[in-house]
């Protein structure tokens, strides 16, 4: 099943073709969770190919779109089986920055990988991130920035989480054009993703680790 889905998605088949394939799988009593798992494996494969330079940004965006459509189609079937999602992620572009292309691709990829993603949008003030962490209790908080000038805002959000006693309750990952691994460490993030496929890997990594003990 994994190979068939991989071929359909990598071949950037027509959305209807993929939809019919899933309908058939479900009609044949395939476990929807198995399709979700196949989708996850497909995205990891896509990630590896993108890292190797075998795929272009537009391929990645198209595959992300197709995969998120598959995830949407499967959502009611998964809910019925009560198999649940991987977890919850709150994400947004930090205050002072209104760029969202990278963030939106990351969201599509994460949704396709089975995560429940809450998008706070762009130009999100630190207080709004804090409020969302308090209320939504996500496993991961994703902070995005395109401008070098707004990178410091990521640090402000992390400090605000600390001030509100929430830092140990959520993993923070950062990403965006000016962000590097070094900068992510300096501002106290738990992970850094250089693109949308790396985001899946990093989210899986940080959520599989034990939470830090104060």
């Amino acid at each position: 099943m994994s190979n068939e889905l991989l071929e359909l998605i990598m071949g950037q088949s027509d959305a209807d073709e993929i939809r019919h394939w899933i309908e058939n799988e479900l009609k044949n009593k395939k476990d929807p969770q198995m399709i979700v798992d196949a989708l996850s494996r497909t995205l990891m494969e896509v990630g590896e190919r993108y890292e190797k330079g075998e795929l272009f940004l537009s391929d990645l965006m198209m595959i992300g779109y197709q995969a998120s459509e598959v995830a949407k189609q499967l959502k009611p079937h998964i809910a019925k089986k009560r198999t649940g999602k991987r977890g919850k992620i709150v994400i947004g572009t930090v205050g002072g920055d209104i760029h969202d292309i990278g963030k939106n691709t990351v969201i599509m990829m994460l949704q396709a990988d089975g995560w429940d993603v809450l998008d706070l949008g762009v130009d999100v003030p630190a207080e709004k991130f804090v409020k969302a962490v308090k209320e939504e209790k996500p496993n991961v908080l994703g902070l995005s920035a395109l401008l070098t000038s707004t990178m410091n805002e990521m640090k402000t959000v992390i400090e605000a989480l600390e001030k509100n006693g929430l830092r140990e309750k959520v993993k923070v990952i950062v990403g965006g054009r000016p962000v590097t691994r070094k900068i992510s460490k300096e501002i106290g993030a738990d992970g850094y993703a250089e693109d949308s496929v790396a985001a899946i890997r990093v989210v899986r990594e940080v959520t599989s680790k034990r939470r830090r003990v104060p």
Partner: protein, 367 residues
């Protein structure tokens, strides 16, 4: 030798008295810091938006004052809005530009940034009244700059690449979706915008410019944003048409793009007269390009904009010296950052770029 002569000699692959220095643009907050003047109106790097001619004149004057104070050798200026055009707003007070981009105001950089689009489906394009290149007013800022500069420095017209235009006016996701589902439609849009640009190139060269610079990115940090086959089938033939329009007027045509351009270099070297940005943070090696294409491509760059924001003055000094050492000998190199002086860049680093360029860029290069 004045700034204009310095740039013109460089464009002919000859060594002037020193390496010319410029920036494609400087964000308004930095221009305000440099000049001490304030400009309380938002601008846009992607599209003309200022309709009030006295404000448009002020915009050009601020940039001129800034470029004179720094001592830049080349003055790039973008298009103005055509006479009589008024922007529309959507219910959330976002602005809709001439091409259907929905723009949001970025308060940090005091700039309007493409955020969304008025186009829901490809069919909407045919019902949308696209701007008329023959309308009067597009060259208002250019004509004002030309009069003020009066030959003291070189003048460039900055236009927008048809691919980048289409990518932004539809939003990246819709562009990609429609490129897959209706490639003929995307091709048609890029051809339409190319026709628009050719008409504009004719006008700006009639005003009198020393070069045309086409803005808009082809690549991200990893490589081309769309498949190379699409570049070769659709984007490059249209790029070539624009270069030919500039060549007919005996004006050099420079392509700006950020990102890792390595896969596109062979094609670009056969089409354009020069490249701007050459971003070292995206694995672009200006020394390697100089060796392979230094006799036919003018290179404009390549001090990392990221370093201007985060590193110290001595790092910038080292980077500029190295850049001059490998890219400047023989001419054909204009020193600049790998994009523009963005609001996040440290002003002291930007000034160090210029100071070091003046000190070590004297021909013959002795580094």
């Amino acid at each position: 030798m004045n700034s204009k002569e310095r740039v013109l000699k460089t464009l002919q692959f000859e060594e002037p008295d020193r390496v010319p220095i410029t920036e494609l643009d400087v964000d308004v907050p930095l221009m305000e810091a440099i000049t001490g003047d304030s400009f309380p109106y938002a601008v846009s790097l992607q599209t003309p938006i200022i309709t009030d001619r006295s404000l448009e004149r002020k915009r050009v004057d601020l940039k001129l004052k800034c470029y004179r104070k720094i001592g830049f050798d080349l003055f790039p200026i973008d298009l103005s809005t055509p006479d009589g055009w008024k922007p529309r707003s959507d219910p959330e007070e976002n602005m809709i530009d001439l091409w259907g981009r929905v723009m949001k105001l970025d308060k940090t950089t005091k700039a309007w940034v493409p955020y969304s689009t008025v186009f829901t489906e490809p069919e909407d394009y045919d019902g949308f009244e696209m701007p008329d290149p023959e309308a009067p007013g597009w060259t208002f800022a250019l004509e004002h700059a030309k009069k003020e500069i009066a030959g003291e420095c070189a003048l460039a017209s900055f236009i927008r690449d048809p691919f980048a235009h289409a990518w932004e006016i539809f939003t990246p996701m819709k562009f990609v979706l429609w490129m897959h589902r209706e490639p003929g439609f995307i091709r048609r849009v890029i051809e339409d915008i190319t026709d628009f640009n050719i008409a504009i190139i004719k006008q700006v060269t009639e005003v009198g410019v020393d070069l045309v610079i086409s803005g808009g990115d082809y690549c991200d940090a990893k490589g081309p944003m769309v498949p190379t086959a699409f570049f070769r089938e659709v984007i490059f033939p249209n790029l070539k048409k624009q270069e030919e329009a500039a060549r007919r007027a005996d004006v050099k045509f420079i392509k700006h793009t950020d990102g890792n351009i390595n896969q596109l270099l062979v094609d670009l070297a056969g089409i354009v007269d020069g490249l701007h940005s050459l971003d070292p943070s995206a694995s672009v090696d200006i020394g390697k390009i100089k060796k392979e294409y230094g006799d036919r491509l003018v290179l404009i760059g390549n001090i990392s904009v990221d370093n201007l924001a985060v590193k110290g003055r001595s790092d910038i000094r080292d980077e500029v010296r190295n850049c001059i050492k490998i890219a400047s000998p023989g001419g054909g190199h204009i020193l600049s950052s790998s994009n523009s002086w963005a609001a996040g860049a440290k002003l002291e680093n930007c000034l160090t770029l210029v100071e070091t360029g003046r000190k070590y860029g004297i021909y013959p290069i002795r580094l």
